[in-house]
């Protein structure tokens, strides 16, 4: 079912009904997923339903300001709505945790901050990530910082697992080659 977004923006109630019917399941699912992974235990049904409603409110508030930013040439509506739903959910969860914070729903509002538990000490040398390409850095972050599997990283990048393995290999080789020129590096110390 194709829903006429412009008709929703124009205030056509039937188009809005169709929009809600078409996308509520996806939005519900995206919110549910975000709540499950957010701070606090469980996924209370009432909270999820409230957030789903808030997603719809945000899409059309201020003369559909948010909905108007959607451009079908740049991304699928389902993907964009999923990201909007997550963003609203995380905003709400943060607000719950810190009620004083002022909240203006913005397109850029994103995600939950996860602080690494094992902070490096002050004398830990920085890894020279600047010698890597963006893709290589991203692969290493996903594999090592987030400890995702090769398959998960492949899904993230929409490539096959072999490409991930090869990117990882090239990235580490490049890092090691760079570090081997620096006698102070801990890698050198350990091996020598």
């Amino acid at each position: 079912m194709d829903v006429d977004i412009q008709a929703c923006i124009d205030g056509d109630p039937r188009a809005w009904d169709q929009f809600v019917t078409r996308w509520s399941k996806l939005i519900f699912s995206a919110v549910n997923r975000a709540v499950l992974r957010g701070p606090g235990a469980g996924s209370p049904r009432d909270l999820v339903e409230d957030i789903v409603q808030e997603v719809f409110v945000r899409l059309i508030k201020d003369d559909c300001r948010l909905l108007r930013t959607y451009d079908p040439a740049r991304a699928g509506l389902s993907t964009w709505l999923t990201l909007v739903a997550r963003s609203v959910a995380i905003d709400r969860l943060r607000r719950k945790a810190r009620p004083v914070r002022s909240l203006e729903a913005s397109e850029e509002t994103l995600a939950v901050a996860r602080t690494p538990e094992d902070q490096p000490t002050a004398d830990t040398p920085s890894i020279p990530l600047h010698v890597l390409t963006s893709r290589q850095r991203l692969v290493l972050r996903l594999l090592f910082d987030e400890e995702r599997s090769v398959e998960e990283v492949a899904r993230f990048l929409a490539v096959d697992p072999q490409t991930v393995r090869s990117t990882k290999h090239k990235a580490l080789s490049r890092l090691r080659a760079h570090l081997s020129l620096q006698p102070e590096s801990p890698g050198m110390g350990r091996s020598g």
Binding site: W16, V20, S29, S134, L142
Partner: protein, 178 residues
Amino acid sequence: MSNLLPHSDDLDFWRLYDTSVPARPANVACPPLLELAGYVDDRLDGAARERLEAHLSDCLECRDAIVHARGALESVASSGDVASPLAVIRRARTLRARGTRGRHVLRRIGRWGVAAAFAALAAVGGLEAGAATSGPQTTVETALQDELSFGLLDETRFEDDPLITWPVELGVESGEEQ
């Protein structure tokens, strides 16, 4: 050269170094959601993709958004997910014309008479003194609070008449008319 360096587990090697970055890079705006969505849908050209991946490599929050989006889309596509809750649908439908401009809304509400609409809202506690007079109601909290209060009204009352706008709009939109 790499034979001079430890060949232990790659992860151990990584952990010898400080690889930490803030969850979101300082002084750098995260890309718009539409761009992240374009990445997920593989709609970015080579340069835009590389630019975004550079951001992703430094931004845990955006990486998390990508992972979440892919997971949620797959989950819905596989239909093994939660059912679409009817209560949620009915509730969202009551918002239907809220996104229209205030003038438009008031013109349609004129069918009832603004006074009658206010009276109806006051009757269900939708227009508490604070909500009605606290200035422009631009915050999401207020909009949602309005919606929740007004949700007490019978939402099916005008379901089939597209010309009659649900009075929920008045509380949110009337501020624009001042």
